[in-house]
């Protein structure tokens, strides 16, 4: 657990970067610090490994004040990933990854062996080991950056805009891989980003900062979308937050009607949906189906986009086992919203 205890940072000249911050970043979870530029999110992150010293207040890791620990030793125990990776241009990929184990006094041989395993873990083949950073693409460099941060198996990782410098397609891919990695490793991670979508996608917890180093809200992604603390958060989270919040619930409780009610639905002999019958007598594509474990967002999208205004549910065998009409969905979502409101009042 990383604890910020009433932390303040005022820079010489009087500008306040962090204003009385008190939050706890849970162990084994990923907490994302998000906000516009100049909101103090990076300053806060850097206080964890003492790259920045607070003006007042304390930062603790598992109850131990970081200020009481040797700077270099503290940092060797905390993984660090930054934008553009910051790899050493004069060392091979393998030796970059082996950096912290070597600093910790392990032999070159041991460190390289561990590094090789980690490269594989972040999806880079052995061929990359002997290359220099300048020979890699941005996405590959960032993978090496993650491997390097993980090399000494630190319990805590800090990530400063780690995925901002790569193109959207590669970013998506890195997100997926990183989530999978974190599922295995369960590190305590603090990550900074200015991208709220990234925060909501990756974070177990999200801290939204606003200008002047104020914490605007600290909560789960779902809480931010459904119950933004104020106008600033609501605005920052974005206009379609209602739709996006549907990603957090599954379609398990959506009321379905019998398949037979969808007169235009074409099924094959086995009962699997094939498409929609059109006025011209041809068959249009189904446009997709959902299962009970899919998100409410997908159901909503299907109900809106299918020609009949109907989302089709299939069972594990691929056979259609129910349909959702979009007006039923609207009623369900309204009822769900009222239930939640009642819950949060209680």
């Amino acid at each position: 657990m990383i604890t910020f205890d009433d932390v303040v940072k005022v820079y010489p000249g009087g500008s306040t970067a962090v204003d009385h911050l008190s939050i706890e970043l849970p162990t084994g979870k990923m907490t994302v610090l998000v906000g516009p530029s100049g909101c103090g999110k990076t300053t806060s992150l850097r206080m964890i490994n003492r790259m920045v010293t607070p003006t007042s207040g304390r930062v603790l890791i598992d109850g131990q004040d970081v200020a009481s620990q040797d700077e270099a030793l503290l940092r060797r125990g905390i993984g660090y990933v930054i934008q553009h990776a910051g790899l050493f241009p004069h060392r091979t990929v393998l030796d970059n990854v082996a950096t912290v184990p070597m600093l910790l006094g392990r032999t070159r041989r041991e460190a390289r062996k561990a590094a090789l395993e980690l490269l594989e873990r972040v999806g880079l083949s052995e061929d990359f080991a002997k290359r220099y950073p300048a020979q890699l693409s941005g996405g590959q460099q960032q993978r090496v950056g993650v491997a390097r941060a993980l090399a000494a198996d630190p319990p805590v990782m800090l990530m400063d805009e780690p995925f901002s410098a790569v193109d959207p397609v590669v970013r998506e891919q890195l997100h997926r891989e990183f989530l999978r990695l974190q599922q295995d490793l369960g590190k305590t991670i603090a990550m900074v980003t200015h991208d709220i979508d990234e925060a909501i996608k990756l974070g177990d917890m999200v801290a939204v900062f606003r200008q002047g180093g104020h914490l605007a809200q600290f909560g789960t992604p779902q809480q931010l979308l459904e119950e933004p603390a104020d106008e600033f958060v609501a605005e920052f989270v974005g206009r379609d937050r209602g739709l996006r919040s549907l990603s957090f619930d599954t379609a398990a409780k959506v009321p379905v009607r019998p398949v037979a009610e969808a007169a235009d639905l074409v099924l094959d002999d086995a009962g699997r949906p094939e498409g929609w019958r059109t006025v011209g007598g041809t068959t249009a594509a189904t446009g997709g189906v959902f299962t009970v474990s899919d998100t409410l967002r997908l159901v909503t999208d299907l109900a809106i986009s299918s020609p009949a205004g109907i989302a089709v549910r299939v069972g594990p065998d691929g056979k259609a086992d129910g349909i959702v009409r979009h007006h039923d969905l609207v009623d369900y979502l309204a009822a769900r919203r009222e239930d939640r409101a009642a819950e949060s009042r209680a």
Partner: protein, 217 residues
């Protein structure tokens, strides 16, 4: 010319030897001195501008004036080779201190920041990361200093110690073309060879630099 060479091989060889010594000893001294001086200019940012200004002024002193002026300061004999070595060492420091400072400053801050965040202490950061990364820039400066020294040694002949330069004065005095040509050719060959050796060293110690965008070859 071949005739001249065979008849005077001892003289030419001695001149070449002296030339190499007078040119390269200052490179070693100057380089050794420039490393800490350049580092100070980076470590204490307020020192940087005074440092490069001083270097600029030192480098602009005409070599002949310096050769003649040094005996006054050092108390050496006017004809002593020490004057040449000291003078050229000053030029080398002037050239390389700035190069070292600029090389260290050219290291990407994301690299030094990442290194610090991974737990490097200052000395090890300098030796393991900053200096190696600055090496292509520093070695490029070393090439310039070496070639420049090789050409400057000849000026020393005007005060009696000038390596291959002595062949020029001899040629002028005797209205004789051969020694002048030999002097020129050997100077150029020596400069080219020294440059090549540094390039090869550069290739060997900074194999990564070839892949850098806009980096030294």
């Amino acid at each position: 010319m071949i005739q001249y060479l065979t008849n005077n091989s001892a003289t030419v060889l001695a001149a070449l030897q002296q030339h190499i010594m007078l040119a390269l000893l200052p490179v070693l001294i100057g380089f050794a001195a420039a490393l800490p001086i350049g580092y100070l200019g980076v470590r204490f940012p307020w020192l940087y501008h005074p440092l490069i200004n001083t270097c600029g002024v030192l480098y602009s002193i005409p070599s002949l004036a310096l050769f003649l002026f040094l005996p006054v300061i050092l108390g050496t004999k006017v004809l002593s080779p020490v004057n040449i070595v000291v003078a050229l060492s000053i030029y080398t420091v002037a050239l390389l201190a700035r190069t070292v400072a600029d090389g260290l400053r050219s290291v990407d801050t994301t690299v030094t920041q990442a290194a610090t965040a991974m737990g490097y202490r200052r000395t090890r950061l300098l030796l393991d990361v900053e200096l190696p990364v600055a090496m292509p820039v520093i070695l490029a400066g070393l090439r310039v200093a070496t070639v420049s020294n090789i050409s400057l040694v000849s000026v020393g002949t005007l005060i009696g110690v000038g390596g291959l330069g002595q062949l020029f004065t001899r040629g002028f005095q005797l209205f004789y073309m051969e020694p002048i040509l030999i002097g020129i050719i050997l100077s150029v060959l020596l400069a080219g060879l020294a440059d090549l050796i540094i390039v090869l060293i550069q290739r060997a110690v900074t194999p990564w630099a070839r892949f850098q965008r806009g980096g030294a070859a």
